[in-house]
Structures are given as C-alpha cells and as structure tokens.
C-alpha cells in the first residue's frame, strides 16, 4: 500500500477523539473491576437443598421463591427435573436473578429439581451412558416420584442432557408425563446437506473426519475428555469473536455500568468452568453418536437395551435455537419424524444462539413460559400411565 494512503487512513483509525474515548472507557473498566469482588460474581444463587446423591451426582430441589409456601402442600403440576450436559455446569440455567430459567419456573409455582453431575476426574473414566442414563438419571427420577408420591414427572434435558433425557424417555416412557428437550441433537448428521458452510456443524464435520480409532486414542491419551480441550474447541468455533472478546471488545464489556460488567464476568465464569468429561461416555458421544449417528436407527444401546425413539409417547416439547452454531437446528428438528405416533409433539424456535437461548432475557422468558405451559397437571402424574400398545 502506498505511503500516501497509509497517512490518509491513520487519522481515521487513531483519531484523537477516538483515542480519548477509548482511554475513558478503559478508565471506567478499571474502576468497575477494582470495585468488583469474587462474591459479586457468584452464579447459581437461587436457594436449593441437596435431597439425594449417588456417588458424585447430587440431586437438588429448589426452594419456593415464596419461603412461606411449602411446595409439597400446593403441588398442582408435575415436578420438573432438569438434566444438563456434561460439557458445562448446570448453573448456567440460574446465571443471575434476572436471567434464570429456574427462577422463572419457580415464580410460576413449579417444583424444580436439578441434577449436578459433579466433578468427574480420571477415576470416573469408566462411566458411560449406562451409568448416566441407566443409574443416575433413573435413580433421581425414582427418588422424586417416591418423595412426591407420584407416578410420573416432567423431564427437561439440555444439549447432551437432552440426549440423556431422550434415551431415558425411550427406555422408561411410563415414568414421564412430559418431555422437554432444548438444543438437543438427535440426528447428528442432519446438517450434512446444508449448502451454507455456516449451517454445517463444526463439531459434526470434525467428528465425521476423524476415525473412531483417532477419537479413542485422543481420549485414552488424556484419560478423559479434558474440560480445557472441549472449551478450546467451543471457542474456536467462533474464532473471530473469541479473538475480539479478549481483545478490542474486552474494554467495551467492562466499561459500561457495574451491572453490565458483572453480567459479562458471570458469563465468563461459567464459560471457563468446564468439567472433564468421563472417557467412556465421551467416546459414546463422539463415536457412537457424532461419528456413527446411532441414535436414529435404534442401534444405540443403554444397559444392553436399544434406544428406540418411537417409544416416546408422552407430550414432547422440542426447543431449538435458530442461530445455534453448536447444534444446528436440523439436528434437533429431526426428532419430529422419529417420535411415536401417539406422541403430542411441538417445536419452539428461539431467535438466539446455543447459550443465548438461556441467558438472553427475551429467549429466557420465552423458554420458561413454553415449559411452564407444557408441564401436565399433578392429577396426570398421580394416575398410572396407559399400557404401551
């Protein structure tokens, strides 16, 4: 580029007024950060009690928002059990008081339980879907039904937790009054035919390129799927945004109001707190599901039993995010053609991304309202289900 053009461009980029504005923002950002402490960036603060545990897994029951009301006496709708993914912490659903799916459900009088999968390490490398679906999720459902003296409840699964929930619902349909899935992949190859590159999933493409031996080697070499490795993969999906976020946009993020800076820090706290994924379950996720797409043809097994999505005969609400770059919508929408004939099936499209569906105010409210309207009455939960035809 010629020297003349360089000179002409420089003032536009580094104009004195722009520089002064940037410096002022930096100053505000520094002042905000100096005034913020660790305890201010707490997430998942809605009060809850640990009511059951099995090995490292803990089942929490949230306290009613109105502490004078005991939810056991006023149970009018099926309790809802939330199962999150193993790739992040469950407390994303309760990020802060004004962006909390959990609080929204509690505000509408629902009884909410959530599963904390714990902190897997190398000693948990042998845990698989047989354990997460067949033991942990199953025991949590049984506990809640026993505690609440009901036959069925509503299961809400998110992302990989949704895949857990779909597997459980297929194996034990009589235990669920309703199923809610959010940003859940069902057909892991549904994005193959997308013409636009952006609509083809990054993860799917990579897992289809790698051989099962390569994936096994990688996971075995670490003894797990490390949280920092999966975090890096998620960050590189949006490479430019990641570079900007920790570069030029960082000053913008912390230089607004103190509350805006806290919002940013809470999100970062959740994003960077990635647990390790147990090795055998990770191999099933990446090889059986992502690479071989076994869920849609009934060849995926849990405890030796095939997972048959046609067994889903309860009301199913399938929520997906229109701009989801991690789970492209077709991967979730594929469930429509796979559920049982008796299944009351409904989809909800959110104008948000994979995480934005839960942390953006508008999408958060939409998701909470849709789920609230989907949960059956308690009378439904107390009667035995009809026999499968």
């Amino acid at each position: 580029m010629g020297a003349e053009k360089e000179i002409a461009m420089n003032p536009a980029i580094w104009g004195v007024s722009d520089l002064a504005e940037y410096q002022a923002k930096m100053q505000t950002g520094i002042e905000n950060l100096a005034d913020i402490h660790d305890c201010d960036v707490a997430i998942g603060e809605t009060p809850k009690d640990a009511v059951f545990s099995i090995e490292k897994v803990t089942l929490y029951k949230y306290r009613p928002l109105d502490s004078s009301c005991t939810s056991d006496e006023t149970l009018t709708r099926e309790p809802i059990l939330i199962a999150y993914s193993l790739f992040g912490r469950y407390n994303m659903l309760d990020l802060q008081s004004d962006r909390s799916v959990v609080r929204n459900l509690l505000a509408q009088g629902h009884t909410v339980y959530i599963i904390d999968w714990g902190n897997p390490n190398k000693s948990d490398r042998w845990l698989s879907y047989d354990d997460y679906v067949g033991r942990y999720l199953s025991d949590c459902v049984d506990f809640i039904c026993h505690q609440q003296n009901i036959e069925r409840l509503t299961l809400f699964g998110i992302c990989e937790g949704g895949t857990f929930a779909a597997c459980y619902a297929s194996l034990f349909p009589e235990k669920l009054g309703a199923l809610v899935l959010a940003v859940t992949p069902i057909d892991f190859h549904a994005d193959l035919d997308a013409e636009e590159p952006r609509k083809r999933g990054y993860l799917g493409g990579m897992m289809r390129q790698l051989s099962p031996a390569q994936i096994t080697d990688l996971i075995d070499s670490f003894g797990c799927l490390p949280g920092h490795l999966s975090g890096t993969v998620f960050r590189e999906m949006t490479l430019l945004d990641t570079c900007k976020k920790y570069g030029p946009s960082l000053v913008e993020a912390v230089s607004g109001s103190k509350e805006a800076a806290l919002n940013f820090l809470r999100m970062e706290k959740w994003l960077l707190d990635r647990p390790h994924h147990p090795a055998e379950a990770a191999k099933q996720w990446l090889i059986d599901l992502y690479h071989a797409n076994r869920l849609i043809d009934g060849s995926f097994l849990v405890n030796g039993q095939p997972v048959l999505l046609e067994n889903l005969n309860m009301p199913v609400l399938n929520i997906y995010a229109k701009h989801d770059h991690i789970i492209p919508p077709p991967e979730s929408q594929a469930l429509k053609g796979l559920v049982g004939n008796d299944c009351e099936y409904r989809e909800l499209e959110l104008n948000a991304g994979h995480i934005g569906a839960f942390v953006s105010r508008r999408a958060n409210a939409a998701i909470s309202e849709a789920i609230s309207n989907w949960i059956p009455s308690i009378e439904h939960a107390k009667h035995p289900p009809q026999a499968l035809s």
């Binding site: 580029m1 053009k5 360089e6 002409a8 461009m9 003032p11 536009a12 980029i13 090995e55 190398k122 000693s123 948990d124 490398r125 042998w126 845990l127 047989d130 354990d131 033991r135 590159p197 952006r198 083809r200 990054y202 493409g205 990579m206 390129q209 790698l210 390569q214 994936i215 080697d217 990688l218 075995d220 070499s221 670490f222 003894g223 590189e236 999906m237 490479l239 430019l240 945004d241 900007k244």
Partner: protein
C-alpha cells in the same frame, strides 16, 4: 546447526516483519511472511535432525562390531524421551499447519479487498462491522473445508501421540521409583466401577 546463525535470525526477522506490518495484506507480503515462517521451521528441523543423528551415532558406535552386546544403559528411558521429542516436533508442525490455514483465511478478505477507493470516512463503525463479517465468513468457510479438516485430523493424531509418549515416559519414571502409575490406577478404578454397578444392581433387587 547446519544453517548459518545469521541466516536463521534473518529468517526470524523476515517472518516477524511480515506478521507485524498492519497493512501487509497484499499477496507479496503475506507470501514473504509465509516463506519466512517455512524457512524458519526448515532450519529448526535441520538443527534437530542433526542433533538426532549425532545421538544415534553415539548409541550405535559399537553396533558394527561382532559379539558386542546391545547396551540398554538408560533402560529404554532415552528412547522414550526421543519418541516424545519426535512426537512434540510433529505436534508443532501440525499446529503450524493449522495456524497457517487460520492466518490465510483471516487475511484473505484483505487481499481481495479493493483498497483503491479508500477514504478515512470509510473507516467508520459500520464499515468495520462489515469487514469483520467478511473475515468471519472466510474463517467459517475455511473451517468447513477439507484442507482444514485434514489438518485438524493430523493435529488430533499428533496430540494423542504426544500425550501417549509423554505418559509412557512419566510411567517409566514412576515404575523405576516405586510409584503407582496411571495405568495401574485405571486398572483399579475399572474394578471399582464394575463392583459399584454390581452393588447397585443388587440393591435394586432388595425389597
């Protein structure tokens, strides 16, 4: 080192000059920067291979003589160290390939942009956002390309190989120092896991 030290630092300088020039988005400068990086790695690889050949000659200096037993002075530890070093070099090469693809995709919109009609007024926020979206699209398209997937596959294999060789080296050290290894730990946890599942199944059968 087989390469002259002066040449080596010149290659570093060429690469850095190309990389830090904020307006170096024309084809010639990007190519120069890439060539500098390639030459840099070739020189480093030459030096490494020379060092390895010296080491191999040292270990095998008596191999030609008849009747001399093969020595295992370091109980295989040296060979595991060599394997790890080889794996690390391969990993660096795979990472460099990926970074080269990212760099090429990130700079492609600049090289294609028509800068003749540039003006300071054009460098306003809406233009920056537009330009960023070009770079984003270029990166997304590159990440779905076969070249990237192949480079990523190579990277995954190299990463696994490096981790395995590193683990093998560490486990050698642990064994010779009477410390439990990760492999033994995995053996133990597998048995515990199976026992836990049996116990769970038995509890389910209890009234």
């Amino acid at each position: 080192m087989t390469a002259d030290k002066h040449d080596f630092f010149q290659q570093w300088a060429d690469f850095l000059t190309g990389a830090v020039n904020p307006f170096a988005f024309d084809e010639q400068t990007v190519t120069q920067s890439k060539r500098g990086a390639e030459q840099l790695f070739e020189t480093a690889d030459d030096a490494y291979q020379t060092m390895l050949s010296h080491y191999d000659r040292l270990l095998s200096r008596h191999a030609d003589k008849q009747g001399v037993p093969a020595l295992d002075t370091f109980m295989g530890f040296d060979l595991k160290l060599k394997d790890m070093a080889d794996a690390y070099a391969d990993l660096l090469g795979a990472m460099a390939n990926l970074n080269a693809l990212n760099f090429e995709a990130a700079t492609a919109p600049f090289r294609c942009a028509d800068l003749a009609g540039f003006s300071p007024e054009a460098m306003q926020r809406p233009f920056e956002a537009k330009w960023q979206s070009f770079v984003d699209e270029s990166l997304v398209e590159m990440q779905r390309s076969q070249a990237y997937l192949t480079a990523k596959s190579d990277y995954v294999s190299c990463l696994a190989k490096f981790q395995k060789s590193y683990r093998s080296l560490v486990e050698s050290f642990q064994e010779y120092n009477h410390a439990p290894t990760l492999s033994e730990f995995e053996d133990l946890t597998k048995q515990m896991h199976e026992l836990r599942r049996e116990l769970w199944a038995l509890k389910k059968k209890l009234p």
